[in-house]
């Protein structure tokens, strides 16, 4: 787990040797810094543009703003955030993303535990079908699901659920849809991770008379925190950034998430670039916070058994 430079030979380098090393490693620095710059330019361009004057954005490049930084303004953010329904759609995105993420992790973990540590007929076949479903294009499933939802729409008085218990334009409807679409990847990832936990652990627990429920909640879940954190980031990113499912299954503008509201902003303002940039930045801020908060787990978690075989 050496964090430091692996090619450093020892602490007692002579001056000449140090200079020689710096030069021999120059290409590495140039390559890494070069890539970092190229990869960051689009995001920086977006960030700078979002603080510029509406007129300036369409007539001159974002790099001109760097010459006189005093010209920057918060006006765009003001306009976007005061846009009707923007605060509501931010809340909607949260109401949609958080339960959908928790739901998929819990349900997938149940299935992954059964696939990894229980014996039953057709186990391998069922697991393979689950993995194969990873590649089903979402668009393909939307017509049958929409037809089903239209028939099963249930009205309710509960205001928290947005007026509907199930079906189109209901929170539970879109939670279940996101959970289902996230399941194949989640089951695949978690089953790989659960399967790589040492067998002895389970056998001694079972011998001591532990039930499946106990083993699952006391051993499997705590040991799998890295994989679960990784999954949390992925699932949250996907649900938060989803446009297609929201577009088809949420007809009610009161329930629309950020992605949908921003897309509507795009079409109603046409080429109002300065608003688009501010809106885009607002929508990506939260996923970035989640990513940086969970980053260290994520690095270990995604490997999920890949390293061990």
């Amino acid at each position: 787990m050496a964090q430091e430079d692996i090619s450093v030979q020892g602490p007692h380098l002579g001056g000449v040797e140090a200079v020689r090393q710096l030069f021999s490693r120059l290409p590495v620095h140039v390559a890494v810094i070069g890539i970092v710059i190229v990869w960051s330019i689009p995001t920086i361009a977006l960030l700078v543009s979002s603080f510029r004057d509406p007129g300036a954005v369409i007539t001159s490049g974002w790099w001109n703003a760097l010459r006189d930084p005093l010209d920057l303004t918060l006006e765009n953010y003001n306009t976007v955030l005061s846009q009707r329904g923007m605060a509501r759609s931010f809340a909607n995105s949260l109401i949609i993303s958080i339960p959908a993420t928790l739901l998929v992790i819990l349900i997938a973990a149940f299935a992954a535990y059964a696939f990894a540590w229980m014996e039953f007929p057709a186990r391998n076949a069922l697991f393979l079908i689950t993995v194969a479903l990873l590649v089903v294009p979402l668009q393909m499933t939307l017509i049958p699901v929409l037809r089903l939802y239209t028939n099963l729409t249930v009205e309710t008085e509960l205001p928290v659920l947005g007026g509907r218990m199930f079906g189109t334009s209901s929170y539970p409807g879109i939670w279940l849809a996101h959970a289902a679409y996230g399941l194949p990847f989640a089951v695949y990832l978690l089953r790989n991770f659960f399967g790589s936990l040492p067998r002895d652990l389970f056998e001694s627990a079972y011998l001591d008379g532990a039930s499946d429920r106990l083993v699952f909640f006391r051993i499997v879940l705590p040991l799998s925190m890295p994989a679960i954190a990784a999954l949390t980031i992925f699932q949250f990113l996907w649900v938060w950034n989803d446009l297609l499912i929201a577009l088809i299954l949420l007809g009610d503008p009161d329930l629309a998430p950020m992605t949908l509201t921003i897309t509507n902003l795009v079409s109603s303002f046409g080429t109002a670039y300065q608003l688009l940039t501010a809106a885009a930045f607002i929508s990506m801020a939260l996923p970035l916070v989640v990513f940086f908060a969970l980053q260290r787990y994520f690095v270990q978690g995604i490997l999920a058994g890949a390293v061990k075989g």
């Binding site: 090619s7 790099w63 039953f120 668009q139 289902a180 921003i262 670039y273 885009a280």
Partner: protein
């Protein structure tokens, strides 16, 4: 193992099986059925829809051949470039002190929604050199501005000298421009996963190789790469599935115009714009068929893990 009731595994699996069944399995079977029916799913037409894909009678509005070829380009180029870049960046970044910063910079695009990414890249590829970053950089080096997303010709061979105006599908400039955006978004994923794998390699092993006189390249080729190969397979599989299902990016950037359609966007057009469910369903089935080899690899990895634990 412990004595479980025969239905215990099914209890653990049931939430997953119900959701997968309703949202993915049933729609897939339904799509398969519709691929043999006419555009309104009323009359049996045999293999007519598949013949439509092969004969390509409406090449002007829905070019099935171009879509298949473009998908093939995405599948190979997107996957290969992202894996190679990811591996390169992971290895190079591990040799500098600012590794964490470099990796974060490359990962940020992963957290950006397709809506936000399309805003950024419309800016980057803008034809007007006062606004478009890429063309501004190109002209300041003495080149000519290019319509990156519309141009179906060849890239400029070197700055001022232009290539041919049309290229054999799918090797056209705008496809490469779109694939680059995909690479920009997904390289961070490859870097983070691969560098986690890299951290798992013991430094003693690398030191031993170097002490035996291996060059840096030989160490990479003969020691690092073989150990890292299972991780590379995980990354490549995820990317291939991404490339196959590629929809959002193409849809928000060009909507498939200028010959940039891929199978998923053409499917969306056939099913939702031209209202021909038959051809749409057949295209979706074609997409599923491409997945069989990937499934076979998954089966082998799964069985391998089962044997060694």
């Amino acid at each position: 193992m412990i004595g479980r009731k025969w239905w215990t595994p099914w209890l653990w699996l049931s939430p997953s099986l119900v959701l997968l069944g309703v949202f993915l399995v049933y729609p897939t079977i339904d799509t398969f059925r519709r691929s043999f029916l006419d555009e309104r799913s009323e009359k049996f037409v045999g293999f007519d829809n598949y013949r439509f894909i092969i004969d390509n009678p409406q090449a002007l509005i829905s070019d099935t051949h171009a879509a298949l070829l473009n998908n093939l380009l995405w599948l190979t180029l997107f996957t290969a470039v992202t894996v190679v870049l990811g591996l390169g960046i992971a290895v190079l970044a591990s040799r500098v002190r600012y590794e964490a910063v470099a990796k974060s910079a490359v990962f940020v695009p992963m957290a950006i929604s397709f809506v936000a990414a399309s805003v950024i890249w419309r800016f980057m590829y803008e034809f007007n050199t006062d606004v478009g970053t890429v063309n501004a950089a190109l002209t300041s080096l003495g080149g000519e501005p290019t319509r990156w997303l519309q141009d179906t010709g060849a890239p400029q061979t070197w700055l001022t000298e232009r290539g041919p105006d049309t290229m054999p599908s799918p090797l056209q400039l705008n496809n490469f421009a779109l694939i680059f955006v995909g690479v920009w978004m997904w390289t961070g994923f490859a870097v983070v996963v691969l560098s986690a794998g890299l951290k798992g390699i013991s430094t003693d092993l690398l030191d031993a190789a170097r002490a035996d006189g291996a060059t840096e390249w030989q160490t990479f080729r003969r020691v690092i790469l073989p150990i890292l190969s299972p991780t590379v397979v995980v990354v490549a599989t995820t990317l291939v599935i991404q490339a196959l299902k590629k929809f959002d990016l193409v849809w928000v950037m060009t909507a498939g115009r200028f010959k940039t359609d891929v199978v998923a966007t053409l499917f969306f057009k056939e099913a939702f714009v031209f209202r021909d469910f038959g051809v749409g369903a057949a295209l979706a089935v074609v997409l599923l068929v491409w997945v069989v080899p990937i499934m076979l690899i998954s089966i082998r990895r799964f069985q391998f893990q089962e044997e060694i634990r």
